[in-house]
């Protein structure tokens, strides 16, 4: 096992029960190594198992078969013994900021949840710093999530994750629920954050163009299996798998051809 890997997956399966007692494999035998400090993009259509893959890496759900290693240690052990330590290292941004913030809490309470082990003035200071970093005004603190726009909510979610000072960030389609112009703002923010993520990131998306803005290595997924993995250039210009070629050519031309 090489020491420079963040995550290592060995024959990982995740099955869900489906109709007629059969099993549906959301993740179907994945062998993969994510190297330290690299920004990865996981692309594929919906139902390809992207989200499940992200949840496996974040420890939200255990695999049904196979083993996931984080920094050389089994995920199961992290979850059993050092869950909080793991949480400090790996954070997740969810797809839908309308669902990932508790509607009953105000923004201050939501952000305080990300400050594990900080109290009093230190915590207050930390929150103020992070608000500035994600370009949110201070007066949003007493508001509840429903009073904010989608983009603002996603900033709150990002701020909450950043308060944990993570090394590795998993982004599960962080802009798919937002307007186009808001999406651009959030992408800019994420690009600015990239240097602080020493461990790297995993950007889950179905949009090749978005993925190309943030990631260095592409992983193409379909039906729970890894179709292809390669550097951005390889995937965009000399993809081997026909599915990857289809995926790359499917996005509408921009700039437009008249």
């Amino acid at each position: 096992m090489s020491s420079d890997s963040v995550f290592q997956l060995k024959q990982v399966f995740k099955a869900y029960p489906s109709k007629g007692g059969k099993k549906f494999h959301a993740v179907d035998g994945v062998d993969l190594e994510l190297k330290w400090g690299v920004a990865y993009a996981l692309v594929g259509e919906s139902g390809s198992g992207k989200t499940t893959f992200g949840r496996l890496l974040s420890g939200m759900i255990p695999p049904t078969e196979g083993e996931i290693f984080f920094e050389g240690k089994k995920m199961r052990d992290w979850m059993r013994r050092d869950r909080r330590k793991f949480c400090k290292k790996v954070q997740v941004i969810f797809q839908n900021p309308y669902l990932s913030l508790d509607p009953k809490w105000n923004i201050r309470e939501i952000l305080e949840e990300g400050t594990l082990g900080a109290w009093g003035r230190g915590r207050k200071r930390k929150i103020e710093v992070i608000l500035e970093r994600v370009c949110l005004p201070k007066d949003c603190l007493p508001k509840k999530p429903h009073a904010l726009s989608g983009g603002e909510r996603q900033r709150v979610a990002i701020a909450r994750a950043l308060l944990m000072e993570p090394e590795f960030l998993i982004l599960d389609e962080p802009t798919s629920q937002l307007d186009v112009s808001t999406q651009a703002d959030i992408m800019n923010l994420l690009r600015d954050l990239r240097p602080t993520l020493t461990g790297g990131l995993l950007f889950i998306t179905h949009d090749i163009a978005l993925a190309s803005q943030l990631a260095e290595v592409f992983i193409v997924m379909r039906h729970g299996k890894i179709v292809e993995k390669g550097l951005k250039k390889e995937i965009l210009f000399s993809a081997q798998a026909p599915y990857t070629q289809q995926l790359v050519s499917a996005s509408p031309a921009w700039p437009p051809v008249f």
């Binding site: 259509e45 651009a184 509408p252 437009p256």
Partner: protein, 237 residues
């Protein structure tokens, strides 16, 4: 070219909250007209107003004029979320038959959208079909009555890129057949790809109208510029 629908100074008044309009635009025969804007800009409201199915509750009022040079039956609609547009309790086949068209017409329309529907899949329920298939099915259902205008409200926003490309191909084919399309979207590249003319909606008002090329090369409104800049560009380096 004959005008199919002419909207003049359309205003939607709410007792509280945002006011839409005034907006004016027209859709000619055999053209694809794009309506681009972000959520809350009033895109879907316009579509509903054109079809005359807008609900006037809570004191909402419609002013202005919508001139239709075609009958209401000649306007067809493709919704945003195909799964929500079909009744989950009935089979796909029975919902097609509800349209009251001959089987030949139905099969023809299905062929047009390249949906390989055999007797078996007509017996399937909406949830058993994928999003892309459902959307193609709805387009077929819209085409079956030989409409003059097809209103598509964000027809691809719940689909993946691959399915989106397929659906866009279909809309090109629909256009080539001489059916007008009102294409409502938040995704500028799609509108520019399909439409011959387009309008940009911002906060309930049309801020720009023109042919896509002009708008792309010389956007006049600040918001259009912002939209153009916001489209994610493939970064190769």
């Amino acid at each position: 070219m004959n005008t199919l629908i002419d909207v003049k100074d359309l205003v939607l008044d709410y007792p509280k909250g945002p006011r839409f309009g005034p907006m004016s635009f027209s859709i000619a025969e055999k053209e694809a007209f794009g309506l681009v804007g972000e959520s809350g800009a009033g895109k879907s409201t316009v579509a509903l107003a054109l079809m005359n199915v807008l609900k006037f509750k809570g004191g909402r009022k419609l002013k202005g004029k919508i001139e239709r040079h075609c009958s209401a039956k000649e306007i067809a609609y493709v919704p945003q979320d195909p799964a929500a547009a079909l009744d989950p309790l009935f089979t796909v086949g029975s919902q097609i038959r509800e349209l009251g068209c001959s089987e030949v017409a139905i099969l023809e329309a299905l062929e047009k959208v390249k949906l390989p529907l055999t007797g078996m899949s007509l017996k399937s329920y909406p949830h058993e079909l994928s999003g892309g298939m459902l959307q193609r099915l709805l387009i077929a259902m819209a085409l079956v009555r030989r409409p003059k205008l097809l209103i598509a409200d964000e027809p691809t926003s719940s689909l993946d890129v691959i399915h989106q490309a397929e659906i866009m191909k279909l809309f090109h084919a629909v256009r080539a057949e001489g059916i007008s399309v009102l294409f409502i979207t938040h995704h500028l590249p799609l509108a520019m790809d399909l439409c011959s003319r387009m309008a940009v909606l911002y906060e309930g008002k049309i801020v720009e109208t023109g042919i896509p090329r002009e708008i792309y090369e010389a956007p006049r409104h600040e918001f259009t510029r912002r939209l153009l800049e916001a489209v994610p560009v493939l970064e190769v380096a």
